[in-house]
Structure formats: C-alpha cells, structure tokens
C-alpha cells in the first residue's frame, strides 16, 4: 500500500470496528455501574454496621488499586487458578471480563459520588416528606432523586469522561477496542505497517466522543438549573 488516500478507508474501517467495541464497553459499564453504584451507596449509608463497613473496605480496595490490575486478575484468575473458563471464548470472553471489571470498578467510584450527592440534600427535605405521610420510597424518588442528580452531575461528568478514556485499559487483555485497532497498523495489518498516524485518528475518536458527551451532560446540568 502506498498512498495515504488508499490506506485511509482501510484504517477508518478498522478503527470504526474497534470504536464500536469501545462504545459497547462504555455503555455496558455505564448501564451496570450506575444502578449498582446507587445500591452500594445505600449499603455504605446503612445503619447495619457490618454491611456498611464491608462495602467501605471494598470501595477502599477498588479505588486504591489500579483498574489494570483488577482487569488482569478478573480475566486470568478463573482460568489460571480455578481452571474454569467462565468468561467465554476469545473476544466474547475478553469483553465479558472487561465489562465485569469495569462495572465493579466504576460502581465503587459512582457510589461515592452518589453518597456525596445524597448527603448534601438538607435533612429537612426528608422530614418534610415524612410529616406529609410519604413513604421512604416516595421520599427518595419524588423528593430526593432529582436533587441528588443535580448535585452529582458535575462530578459525574468528570467520571464519565474518564470512563470513555479508561476503556482503553481493556487493551491489556487484548480486547479489540479502538487503540488495539490503531496499534495494529504500527505492527502491521492489512498491508499497512509502521504507520503512526492511525493513532492520531484514534485519539480523534475519543476527542469527538467526549465532546458529544460534554455537550449532552452540560445540557442536562443547564436543564436542572430551573431550581436551586
């Protein structure tokens, strides 16, 4: 292959496939980690001491060690130690293990954001709901939830932008995400080798993706400015 114009469609096609995997990991993580993070935040706020202590230790470990190590352990532990292939074959297996590691890791980060967001709601809000005879469930969903969302949007935006970039860590267990796809052209793939420029394209994918997310999340923040 010689000219850039000939190589371009091949590279873009390959990066698109990789980026699809990146996006898949991103959305699966987000969808899993948001509700699980909320549940963990409830557990850490629980009055049952052993429960809250247990989850606080889990959060400490998960936030205190690199996601990359967690990813490696979660992927290799079942096979190497238990001699069980629980993740499935090839790319499917790598994706499943990545999804579990990412959801677990991000749920812990999100839970701390949720916890902060809930604890910043004045206690009077809950009391007002109580004296009006509202149930705990109604108080959470009808009174506190939107206030919590408003409180957590700025830190959550940070965390979500980081997640987009962190998906590249799955490269360590050879998940074929967009960086893996870009790197392939350095080593040699589809007749292209020693090419660094596909990596710049790779960066562009992240940049555009995070640009769009910034606009969406910023819009949500703006929308919630109708109350104080």
């Amino acid at each position: 292959m010689d000219t850039f114009m000939e190589q371009l469609p091949i590279v873009v096609n390959s990066l698109n496939i990789g980026f699809l995997q990146t996006l898949k990991l991103f959305f699966v993580t987000l969808l899993g980690a948001l509700p699980i993070g909320l549940l963990i935040s409830f557990a850490t706020r629980s009055k049952i001491r052993p429960l809250s202590a247990f989850f606080k230790i889990i959060i400490w470990i998960v936030r205190g060690t690199p996601l990359m190590i967690q990813l490696l352990i979660i992927y290799y532990f079942p096979g190497l130690v238990l001699h069980q292939n629980i993740w499935g074959m090839a790319e499917t297996g790598r994706f499943n293990a990545s999804a579990v590691a990412f959801i677990f890791n991000y749920a812990c980060y999100f839970s701390e954001i949720f916890r902060g967001g809930i604890s910043r709601i004045p206690v009077g809000q809950e009391e007002a709901g109580m004296v009006l005879g509202m149930s705990k469930k109604d108080i959470f969903f009808k009174v506190k939830f939107l206030q919590m969302v408003k409180n957590i949007l700025p830190p959550m935006t940070n965390e979500i932008l980081t997640l987009v970039k962190d998906t590249s860590l799955a490269r360590i267990i050879a998940l074929q995400e967009v960086i893996w796809a870009g790197q392939a052209f350095m080593k040699g793939s589809q007749g292209i080798s020693g090419a660094i420029w596909p990596l710049f394209f790779t960066a562009l994918y992240y940049l555009i993706c995070n640009g769009i997310l910034t606009i969406i999340l910023g819009g949500m923040e703006k929308k919630l400015e109708y109350f104080k």
């Binding site: 004045p122 004296v131 009006l132 005879g133 509202m134 109350f227 104080k228």
Partner: protein, 263 residues
C-alpha cells in the same frame, strides 16, 4: 373533650434527657403556644408529636384515640406511624419546600401520592378515576394557595419566592393533608422582620377558622395575642401553663418571670 392529650411524654438523646414527663391537653379549635429558651425541649416536643422523633415514654391521644403508647410496639411500626402522624401537620422554621417543584406542586405532591397509592391498592381501577381525583386535589390546593394570598405565585419555584411566601406555601402544603392539629416550629424565626407579619396574619386567620394549632414561638406578643393556652417549658419540663393572661400577666413561677423578663 380534648382533641389532644399528651401524658408522661419522655424523650432522651443518648444520656441527655430532653423531655422529662410532659403532660398537657389541648381543646379542639384552640391554639396552644409553647414558649421557652432554646434547648428547653419545645422543638423536640413538637417533633415527637409528628414522630420525627419517637418518644421513649408516654402516651399520645388524638380525639380520645391512642395514637402512640411507648409500651406497645405496634405503635412504633413504620406503617402505623405514617398513618398516625397525619393527625398532625407540621410547618418548619426553614420551610423545607421541595425546590424542584412549583408552589402548587409542593402543595399537591403528598396528596396526589396518597391518592395514587390508595388507587393502586384497589383491585380494578381505571386511570380516568385517578385523573378525576387529581383534578379535585388541584382545585382544592389552588384554593388553599389563594387563601394564603398566593394566587399569582402558584407556578413559581421556591427560589423565586420570598421567605414569607415560602412559609405560606408550606402552611398550604400542611393544610392540604387535612390535619386535625397544625404544628408550627418557630415559623417566623427564619424570616426578615418585615416578612414576619404576613405569616402571623395567616396564622391568625386560621385561628378564626377554628383550626387547632400548636405553635412553638419566640414572638411573645404574638403568643399572647393568638393563644388560648400558653405553656412555658424549661429544662425538659412544663414549668407553667395557663391562659395568656395567667402566664404573661400573673406569672407564678420564678423561672417563667426570669424568661419573660428578657423580652
């Protein structure tokens, strides 16, 4: 017959005894003011009536029916407490309006949720009936806000309202649940002096409509003016109680005299 009867009410936080054997009754359509310095237990007493705090001892009766008895665990069940606390409405010092809802939605929310929950409990219901019920609630709540002088503020959010307006929305919100007894916890303490009057005026109007009320207040003039009955609390005890004339003009207890002397 007394509408409210509180006997031997006790409450401690850890080792601190905040309420030590509180006894009083309140007649229907009457207004009771509770005065006393901060830390005397008057706010805790109010919070016990609304079950924001669960008393450690004592019995509370409303309309001669026991709604709380510290000896009987069934009165401490979440569901029973939720039902029984609706005997009381509560207006907080800091309003505690829900910021994400308009004034009208603040007033309607709990009523609508209650209607909805009642509806879901029925076996075969149709949505049209619930919508009709919501419409009834809306008309009623708009009426309450109009009565509070807020007919042109209904679609405003709390941060767009003045403190006095917020407190009036909070009063309408409490009234929407149709409580037997309306409680006020220092309703004007968070207000600028020029806004205090509009809230006190509303409370006076409620008295004229025969609303039974318990008011914790620092406004001595107001307490004297609006109450049928005044309680002076100190150190977790009811030190003195009687008509405003008895408590303010013919004070018996030394501690009450000291307290009133500061005003």
């Amino acid at each position: 017959m007394a509408i409210l009867e509180v006997s031997h009410l006790k409450k401690s936080f850890g080792k601190t005894k905040v309420l030590k054997d509180i006894n009083f009754t309140l007649e229907k359509n009457e207004v009771l003011s509770i005065i006393g310095s901060s830390g005397s237990g008057k706010t805790t007493l109010l919070r016990c009536l609304n079950f924001l705090e669960i008393p450690n001892g004592g019995v509370i009766k409303v309309n001669d029916e026991v709604i709380f008895d510290s000896e009987k665990p069934e009165y401490k069940q979440d569901k029973v407490i939720r039902e029984n606390r609706l005997n009381f409405g509560m207006v907080f010092q800091s309003f505690n309006l829900f910021p994400q809802y308009t004034a009208l939605d603040n007033v309607m929310l709990a009523r609508k949720l209650k209607a909805q929950n009642n509806f879901k409990a029925q076996k075969n219901f149709n949505i049209a009936d619930l919508k009709r019920e919501f419409e009834v609630i809306r008309v009623e709540c708009e009426g309450l806000l109009t009565k509070m002088g807020l007919s042109n503020r209904m679609d405003k959010y709390p941060h767009q309202l003045s403190g006095g307006q917020c407190q009036r929305v909070a009063i309408a919100r409490a009234l929407a649940m149709k409580p037997n007894i309306l409680c006020f916890d220092e309703p004007t303490s968070a207000l600028d002096p020029e806004l205090t009057g509009e809230v006190l005026k509303v409370i006076k109007e409620l008295k004229e409509e025969k609303m039974t009320m318990v008011i914790v207040t620092h406004e001595m003039e107001f307490a004297r003016d609006v109450s049928n009955e005044v309680i002076f609390m100190d150190g977790g005890h009811v030190v003195e109680c009687g008509t405003p004339d008895e408590v303010f003009n013919h004070t018996k207890e030394e501690r009450t005299k000291q307290f009133l002397g500061k005003f």
